[in-house]
Symmetry: C2
Subunit: 433 residues, 2 copies
């Protein structure tokens, strides 16, 4: 922790000082954006209160030149991500000083600010590879019970940080819309599959993990070095077509049931900003320890992150009558069975190379309590126990027009609360319908 985490720090961008703001000066997350509706080039920015500080514009002022700022001149964050913690930390310190109350540069920086209400975002990095993990044992058990009633949690789960390769091309940023996917569906009692729009469309509440500096092919990352390869976290909705998934997923895993869309939040909260919210990595009594390549004193002491997560739903009818999105569940990243460092160490133990801008999904974050399940298939027990929304609508799975919104924040005594903004996406009717 350093002076950028000081809870007493306030910004001359006064909206950053409002209690419970997502983007106080202690946060300073990164996105790539431009003024909405223009054909300006996209560029990196940090959020401060209800504004974005345009880093390309900052660079042009000549104030506070740095290696980090030089790495922010592209239309993605990949270069900055590749720089590593020394450069990130120096840039954060500069930005914190520039945006702090009393900064002599405040007048000159006014022209680098854009109101968040006026921007449009893009996926903030070129994502070379996207890997989706499965780190909530509660989710794995809930889902496993539905797909394999006799065998809900497979024997490898407690040893292997299970993951699979996901599709990069269909990752979009908050505001993404997509048609309900079509595909092969086979009800259990049908003789042969049919083709049509998915009937069991779901969301998954996940954390996205952006990789910083990569590793060379054949060169595993040690768990104690793992977090130096991580740039920061965002929110990630791994939209899932459960009926397509049930029919296609054996033996090679989910494919078209996931590849039609994945929605992430635009703002990436850096690992440094998350420092005040680190927690021990603990397992319940009776759970095995981790194998040596997934174990370290540092990981045990502070490998987890206390990050509160929420899913909200707003149907088309709710939107039409100005009813606010309704909360469906809340969970916490500490519900994960494996930490970020363990995911990195596992991913590379075979020599697989990571590259700056690669994205991991945490897997659906479900807790073990009622109200903490991160997907509809869990909440509605496979679609047999519908939920009733505030306006009387029922849901087992998503309907056309539904908007799903993920939110998250970190909050702890002695630290200033920081937020992640949101990842929202909307289901359109199937193209062929």
């Amino acid at each position: 922790m350093n002076q950028t985490h000081d809870p007493a720090l306030r910004s001359w961008v006064t909206s950053a000082n409002v209690p419970n703001a997502d983007f106080p000066i202690q946060n300073l997350p990164f996105a790539v954006l431009r003024r909405a509706g223009t054909d300006e080039r996209f560029r990196p920015a940090v959020a401060i209160g209800d504004h974005a500080l345009d880093l390309r514009a900052l660079h042009a002022t000549g104030i506070a030149p740095s290696e980090g700022l030089e790495a922010c001149l592209d239309d993605t964050l990949n270069r900055l991500m590749g720089e590593g913690a020394r450069v990130w930390s120096a840039l954060r310190a500069d930005l914190s000083a520039l945006l702090a109350e009393g900064s002599e540069h405040a007048p000159a920086l006014q022209s680098c600010l854009i109101a968040l209400g006026d921007v449009e975002y893009r996926v903030p990095a070129h994502i070379g590879d996207y890997t989706d993990f499965y780190t909530s044992i509660h989710h794995a058990t809930n889902i496993g019970r539905l797909f394999r009633p006799d065998n809900p949690l497979l024997p490898n789960y407690r040893w292997v940080p299970i993951g699979y390769h996901g599709r990069s091309s269909s990752i979009g940023v908050s505001g993404q819309t997509f048609p309900r996917p079509c595909g092969q569906l086979k009800p259990p009692d049908a003789e042969r599959p049919e083709v049509g729009p998915c009937r069991r469309l779901d969301y998954e509440l996940e954390i996205g993990i952006f990789i910083g500096p990569g590793n060379a092919l054949g060169d595993p990352v040690d768990i104690d070095d793992a977090e130096s390869h991580v740039f920061g976290l965002c929110l990630l909705n791994d939209w899932s077509a459960r009926d397509i998934q049930a029919w296609e997923y054996q033996p090679l895993g989910p494919f078209l049931s996931k590849s039609f869309a994945t929605t992430i939040s635009p703002w990436i909260v850096t690992m440094e900003a998350l420092e005040p919210f680190r927690s021990p990595w603990e397992r319940d009594t009776g759970e095995p320890g981790a194998l040596p390549y997934l174990s370290s004193a540092r990981n045990s002491a502070a490998g987890a992150i206390d990050m509160q997560l929420e899913v909200l739903l707003q149907s088309a009818a709710m939107r039409d009558s100005d009813v606010a999105p309704q909360s469906l569940s809340r969970s916490n990243f500490t519900d994960a069975y494996w930490t970020v460092a363990q995911m990195v160490a596992h991913h590379t133990v075979n020599g697989c190379n990571l590259r700056p801008g690669d994205l991991f999904g945490s897997g659906t974050m479900s807790g073990n309590q009622e109200g903490s399940q991160g997907a509809l298939i869990e909440i509605t027990r496979g679609g047999v126990a519908p939920i009733t929304l505030g306006n009387g609508e029922e849901r087992t799975f998503l309907q056309d027009g539904d908007t799903v919104i993920l939110r998250a924040h970190c909050e702890r005594e002695g630290a200033v609360r920081i937020g992640f903004g949101e990842a929202g996406g909307t289901v359109l009717p199937a193209s062929s319908a």
Copy 2:
């Protein structure tokens, strides 16, 4: 078919006219290369006999300017891939005329030729996403029998072109070397997994399929339009760690057992060059037909490609005593249960977007005959029936120092044989060993 396929056509690059040359003038495959051992920029080239025609150098001569040649100035083929069949075909016609016997430009083009013995290659495209299919029913049955003796071929196999997302970052070009991967291994009778070098390292003989123009998210590709989205084919070795795979693959599919390396051949043979070798897509009696989105008259008439495949092995001892690589198996792309067009149509039926340079693997091409199994795990029946090499060495799985070479060619009466060159890769000792 057009004048570029004319069997009577010969080149002034006389090595292209040698019977059974891989790269006669009827082939004209694309790669990205530079002079070996230099720091020249990589650039696109076509193969002709034992030479490569440097397309950036050709562009600089000003001879035969075209849209296609303009798209060959980067250090990848992505731009050319995105152009589509009209541009590809015009470029092929130009190159065929320039390289044909009697071309007035022969003297001027001499300076654009580089001997293949003097070049080094790179992966010819930026591969945004890599998808590996599983289209040989013989392989699926052979493998299924080993992983699930009671249930070798799953009920979805005959309906769904099964595939999964693969890892892009670790794809390398022929000549790739990689350390034997480490990972979690759990012998069936062990109480808990251990971590160590893979003991059941295998290859998989596959065809690589490079995507040309993409499709928009939410916009499925019709099967009759599918091949207009395909640039060409290469060879692909999907190296596989069978012991890591057996322990990790449920429920989300292969992950670290595949992501440590994938080796492709440098030369991409275009779909137009393959025209003379198209075959009907036929299924054995008793097999079901395909669902409507995977069916078309055109696909049935000529959806398959008659492409002969071979795997060879050269051990370190063989290399040291100059013993040539030994053939392990031969199969044919017509052993595939699904065609290239069906893979494209299936991949996009859910709205998933493809991008120029995306790569598909066909899945291991095994036939139903002895000697046609495209992986050691099949040949040695899961490692219980070792093979003996010509020099007396035994193999169940790959040893350190083994080089695996994939080769392919198309040959048919009335057409000139065309070859794919080769995809070779070598196993190094485990890093931790």
